[in-house]
């Protein structure tokens, strides 16, 4: 019988290895898989390349992983959100690498990676410093820049509910990058508040079909960055 449920966040991230590329769901705190991130900090993997739109806030979740020195490189579109202190300090002191990618190009690179598409042309960033050094080509009257598909060893994402097949539904704007990251990673690990029986999720509204998911862990009451930050939490 197929059953992708694992017992704990600790078990779910146990094989994330040093040097892995890890896609992390979330846009700001919406959709950030805090418990999986904290389990990854406890697990100890280092020299990671992390793909996320931002760099976390305060000293919890993604920001805590960066603060712990586990992240060698961030691939993101907006590394200096409100409350983001850890990344800017490390970046200014040259201790972390940044690959800055326009948000839509980041999304499309992940989508393409998940779909087996190695590269694509886009008008985004043409005529700006972010197109420097990239191949350009004219289609019709317009210039486009070549961007490469992005894949990962692992994706850690957050959903609202999932079943044993790994079918996932999300909560409002917490969906953001999670469905495309699930397609682009070799191993996708999802934390959900509700683990439901197969058949409980309406097939018409399932957002991520189960074959994109390898592990499901139930976190009934997930924490949020803003709440932990308000409590002054610094993880670990």
């Amino acid at each position: 019988m197929i059953n992708k449920q694992v017992a704990s966040a600790k078990d779910a991230v146990a094989d994330i290895f040093d040097g892995a590329t890890v896609m992390v769901g979330g846009f700001g705190e919406a959709g950030s898989p805090i418990e999986l991130l904290h389990a990854l900090i406890d697990q100890g993997a280092t020299n990671l390349t992390v793909v996320n739109n931002n760099t976390g806030s305060g000293e919890v979740g993604l920001a805590a992983l960066i603060k712990a020195g586990r992240v060698a490189k961030m691939i993101c579109s907006y590394p200096r959100s409100v409350g983001s202190k850890v990344f800017p300090e490390l970046y200014r002191s040259g201790k972390i690498e940044l690959e800055l990618v326009p948000q839509g190009t980041l999304a499309e690179r992940i989508r393409a990676g998940g779909a087996g598409i190695p590269g694509f042309y886009t008008a985004t960033s043409v005529g700006t410093p972010l197109a420097d050094g990239k191949e350009q080509r004219k289609f019709g009257d317009r210039e486009y820049v070549l961007e490469h598909g992005l894949t990962a060893d692992f994706a850690i994402i957050k959903g609202r509910a999932a079943d044993r097949y790994g079918n996932v539904v999300y909560n409002k704007t917490a969906r953001n990058f999670a469905p495309i990251m699930a397609t682009a990673a070799k191993v996708t690990i999802v934390q959900v508040a509700d683990f439901v029986e197969a058949g409980d999720l309406d097939p018409e509204v399932i957002v991520t079909p189960g074959l994109f998911v390898q592990r499901v862990v139930t976190v009934p009451h997930p924490a949020f960055e803003s709440q932990l930050n308000a409590q002054g939490v610094s993880y670990p």
Binding site: G31, A123, F177
Partner: protein, 221 residues
């Protein structure tokens, strides 16, 4: 409140209200972070606009009432919002398909600089200590049909933001069609900055002094 008889130019709220007048009924609109967010409050009577926020919501409504917000219902500025009846959620690739595929009618963005040929710089000052952060701005200017800019006419230090050529790194070349400032409404045309409308108690000369590059007077009928 400042005296309307002596106040020079528009307040931020008045600027936002002025932009709202020009947005056609039925438009799909993306509003940038900052002053553009204010525009949503001023939709003229009888018009229906649908707001898109690039983090995955079409049909963004106003801010929630105190204490009724949700941590996972936010806008691109990561502030809590609401969803109107008839709203839809979607993932990031779909959201940017809307933007990059030319399906959004209008985007209103803030600016550090706009050049007289419509180049926009709004993501980085390029300073050595700056943390570069682009977000969705380059996708928006490359993909949305019409780009409006709303900005103060000059910087806090009094330097022009409407310039001959941008000195800051570009968000996109030749993308802005119209600029709304506290002092004027200005179109970007092949001949230069074309004055369309002056704010109350503002003269052509006053705007010209604060604008680098060619400013063309309002054509006489």
């Amino acid at each position: 409140m400042s005296d309307p008889n002596t106040q020079i130019g528009l307040t931020r709220e008045q600027m936002a209200k002025r932009v709202a007048i020009d947005i056609p009924d039925g438009s799909y609109v993306n509003l940038g972070i900052g002053i553009p967010e204010l525009i949503a409050k001023y939709v003229p009577e009888g018009r229906e606009l649908i707001y898109h926020t690039e983090n995955g919501l079409l049909g963004m409504g106003p801010s929630p009432a105190e204490g009724e917000g949700e941590l996972e219902l936010i806008n691109a500025g990561k502030r809590q919002v609401t969803a109107i009846p008839g709203a839809a959620y979607f993932h990031h690739a779909d959201s940017f398909t809307m933007i990059r595929g030319g399906h959004i009618d209008l985007c209103v963005l803030g600016a550090l600089q706009v050049s007289q040929n419509g180049d926009l710089a709004n993501w980085s000052t390029g300073g050595p200590d700056a943390i570069p952060a682009v977000g969705g701005a380059m996708d928006l200017v490359a993909g949305v049909k019409t780009i409006f800019v709303i900005t103060q006419h000059v910087t806090k230090k009094g330097l022009p933001k409407l310039v001959k050529e941008c000195t800051f790194p570009l968000t996109g070349p030749a993308v802005v069609s119209r600029i709304y400032t506290d002092l004027a409404v200005i179109d970007v045309t092949p001949a230069g900055f074309q004055l369309v409308e002056l704010s109350p108690n503002v003269t052509f000369e006053y705007v010209q002094e604060r604008t680098e590059g060619t400013l063309l007077p309002i054509p006489k009928d």
